[in-house]
């Protein structure tokens, strides 16, 4: 994997890769909005399929619901799990041997 090594060891390219990443964050949000507003048109064309496609829950009407949900849950899970671990269940590795 010579190219990967070359890329990840080079700060300039890492910086560019980061820009690609940030751009992709924006692009998926735009795509989400686009899909949200494009769907009604598709619904006219294939009525049966559209009925199937229709989102079941109100919160799914938010175009970038998945993005917000992913970020919030990631933060909640990460911080919540660590807090739970540090306060309740995490012990030294030799806990059961002592």
């Amino acid at each position: 994997m010579w190219f990967l090594e070359k890329w990840l060891e080079n700060p300039k390219i890492v910086k560019k890769l980061n820009y690609v990443l940030y751009a992709s964050f924006v692009i998926v949000c735009i795509l989400g909005v686009a899909v949200h507003f494009a769907e009604p048109e598709a619904a006219v064309e294939h009525e049966e399929a559209a009925e199937h496609e229709e989102d079941a829950f109100a919160f799914e009407q938010i175009p970038i619901f998945s993005a917000i949900f992913g970020f919030v849950i990631c933060a909640l899970l990460g911080l919540g799990a660590k807090a739970y671990g540090h306060n309740v269940v995490m012990k030294r590795e030799d806990y059961y041997d002592r």
Partner: protein, 647 residues
């Protein structure tokens, strides 16, 4: 043409095939090992739907071949996974490990094609006993201990299952048919408990993350596929309509399970234990799928079962691949903790690629197989209107990508370079990983390959995983999980620690139990033994010369009384010396009384017996005791007098 081919049970191929493994050596053995899963795969392909291979047992028929789309689907994936895993394990020299693995696979296939509860129970037990050797073969103390804990949990599960089967037979009037149990009764609940122990449903799940990381490198790969997935199979067949008081318990248990595994995985440092918690989490989706089927009706119910089976199929492939990659890391570097790994992408690039394919699959990234299977279950929850279940499952998907897709690869393959010298694993391991990786992508790109062999293909005929909304939504979910990871990277650093789980109760509980056995219980038993021994010793001593012994005892008592009443005196000293001499010489010559003395003694005794028989019933207890005391006092007094006189 299909009808002309005679098939044999794939379980029999593995089980009888495994017994011949030790007969082969070297390349021949490797060829033979690969032949068995291939033969079994061909057999599964040609097995026709129906019920066959009936063997009479007592007054029942054991059914070894109940074949329908559901069992066949599991049969396919079990044999395919066994082939990939056998490739991965081909370098292992020890025949015993292969025998244990094949017995394990064979019994799992036995459960899948079993048509009655007895057959299921038999294979269920073989599965537990065969798989424990895959743990023990690692030969570390930690593995041996974990193996015993694993076995004990599964024995409990087996007993619950057997108890449930017997109760169910009573309830159903002697039926042992393995059908859907759609009613709650003591029998079906016990059977369910036996099944969900193997499915690792919290709080009965702790055996899985406890044991799998301690298994051998190749053994753990086998174990990921079969125990939990046979449990999913029996749940999907036996409990797709099971509710207690109208609540689909499996739906809630499954959703909790999916999140539970994710939370513990975030805390975990050992790479295989982290992945083991994700088995709990992923099987949670499947258990939840069975539960959704129970809470819904019609097409939604069928969709949920399809989703469960599809996810089990895909899960076996990507989870096997994850454990293969993690095993390759441990095999080549000797390290299993995230805190000790880092920068491996430079030295193990192929392992990294295979790992990432599996990680994207389990995270449900588009074009990988998790995307097309997990989404069916979530889709079923959506159709059924279970908003909370939907959010819990989506949340677990976020956590899965966070741990398996980001944290583990970041700290093992990228991140800070730990400077480990290693290289990619041997070719056979790479081939095994390659087969699994190829299938992960193939099914992701051509979902219809899988959808067509599901139990109810017509139920999901309209389902399109690559619909624009779902596709973009998934990308958003994953990318913004990545964003969250970037923000939290410092907080999520792996730590050198272990996390207590429900096994704490039996691991610490057993210490308490052993203390109870070692202290109060042992002392209690020891006391009775000691007391019995004292009585025995006395009886032996006494029987050597009863007359002399009685005299010694009486004199000892008299001397004590004399001492108490008179204090130390010369007479006492002499008497003591005489007594000690008697004790030393004991038993000495048995004293022989002259014949007249004996007859006088005997007649006195008989007269006394008459007295007791005729007089005593008329006396009160108090009087008898009084008489006895007077007699003893008189005797002791006379003896003391004698002793004083001799002095």
């Amino acid at each position: 043409m299909i009808g002309e081919i005679n098939v044999v049970s794939p379980a029999a191929i593995f089980i009888f095939g495994s017994l011949l493994i030790p007969l082969f050596k070297g390349k021949m053995r490797q060829a033979y090992l690969l032949l068995i899963p291939i033969a079994a795969m061909i057999n599964v392909y040609f097995m026709q739907h129906g019920t066959y291979w009936l063997y009479p047992f007592m007054e029942y028929d054991l059914i070894f071949g109940m074949v329908d789309p559901l069992s066949k689907c599991f049969g396919y994936v079990f044999t395919i996974a066994a082939l990939a895993m056998t490739f991965y394990a081909l370098h292992v020299k020890e025949a015993g490990q292969h025998v244990a693995a094949f017995l394990y696979v064979g019994s799992a296939l036995g459960v899948v094609f079993a048509g009655d509860l007895f057959t299921i129970f038999i294979f269920w037990e073989v599965m537990a006993w065969a798989s424990v050797f895959l743990i023990w073969y690692r030969r570390k103390q930690a593995s041996i201990d974990a193996g015993f804990r694993y076995l004990m949990v599964h024995v409990v599960g087996g007993v619950l299952l057997l108890g449930g089967i017997i109760l169910y037979m009573q309830e159903s009037g002697g039926s042992i048919a393995f059908d859907a149990f759609n009613f709650a009764s003591p029998g079906t609940i016990l059977i369910l408990l036996g099944f969900i122990i193997n499915a690792a449903v919290p709080p009965l799940h702790a055996w899985l993350p406890d044991a799998y990381p301690e298994a051998t490198i190749t053994g753990a790969v086998f174990m990921t596929a079969f125990t939990t997935k046979t449990a999913v199979y029996v749940l999907a067949r036996g409990f797709p309509g099971f509710t207690i008081d109208g609540i689909a318990v499996l739906m809630w248990l499954g959703a909790i399970m999916a999140l539970y595994g994710v939370i513990y995985a975030i805390l975990e440092n050992n790479i295989r234990r982290l992945l083991a918690y994700h088995i709990v989490s992923q099987v949670g989706y499947m258990v939840c799928g069975v539960g959704i089927a129970a809470s819904a009706t019609g097409a939604i119910s069928l969709t949920a079962i399809d989703g469960t089976v599809a996810h089990a199929f895909c899960h076996i492939l990507y989870k096997g691949l994850l454990f293969m990659s993690a095993g390759a890391i441990i095999y080549m570097t000797g390290k299993s903790k995230l805190t000790e790994l880092g920068g491996l992408y430079k030295v193990m690039p192929l392992t990294m690629i295979f790992y990432m394919i599996a990680a994207f699959s389990i995270s449900g990234a588009p074009f990988f197989n998790g995307f097309i299977s997990k989404s069916i279950i979530i889709h079923a929850a959506e159709m059924n209107g279970n908003a909370i279940i939907f959010l819990m499952l989506e949340g677990a998907a976020v956590g899965t990508f966070l741990s398996v897709g980001l944290k583990l690869p970041y700290f093992a393959f990228f991140g800070k370079d730990a400077g480990i010298k290693a290289k990619d694993p041997p070719l056979n391991m790479l081939v095994g990983m390659g087969i699994a990786a190829f299938l992960c992508i193939l099914l992701g790109v051509y979902p219809s390959l899988l959808y067509n062999i599901l139990p109810y293909p017509e139920a999901i005929a309209d389902y399109a995983p690559y619909a624009a909304g779902h596709f973009v939504g998934t990308l958003q979910l994953l990318l913004f999980t990545y964003a969250g990871f970037l923000v939290l990277k410092k907080k999520l650093h792996p730590e050198n620690s272990i996390s207590l789980d429900t096994d704490w109760f039996y691991r610490k509980g057993s210490i308490l139990f052993m203390w109870f056995v070692d202290n109060p219980l042992t002392r209690g038993t020891q006391w009775t033994i000691d007391a019995t021994l004292v009585v025995k010793d006395f009886a032996v001593w006494f029987s050597r010369n009863p007359v002399e012994a009685l005299g010694i005892i009486a004199d000892t008592v008299c001397l004590k009384i004399l001492h108490i009443s008179q204090g130390t005196s010369a007479g006492e000293q002499t008497a003591k010396a005489v007594l000690n001499e008697r004790l030393e010489q004991y038993p000495g010559e048995p004293v022989r009384r002259d014949p007249i003395g004996v007859s006088v003694l005997l007649s006195t005794l008989f007269l006394f017996a008459y007295l007791v028989i005729y007089v005593l019933p008329n006396l009160s207890v108090l009087a008898v005791v009084g008489l006895g005391v007077v007699a003893v006092f008189a005797g002791v007094g006379m003896r003391i007098r004698e002793l004083m006189q001799t002095a």
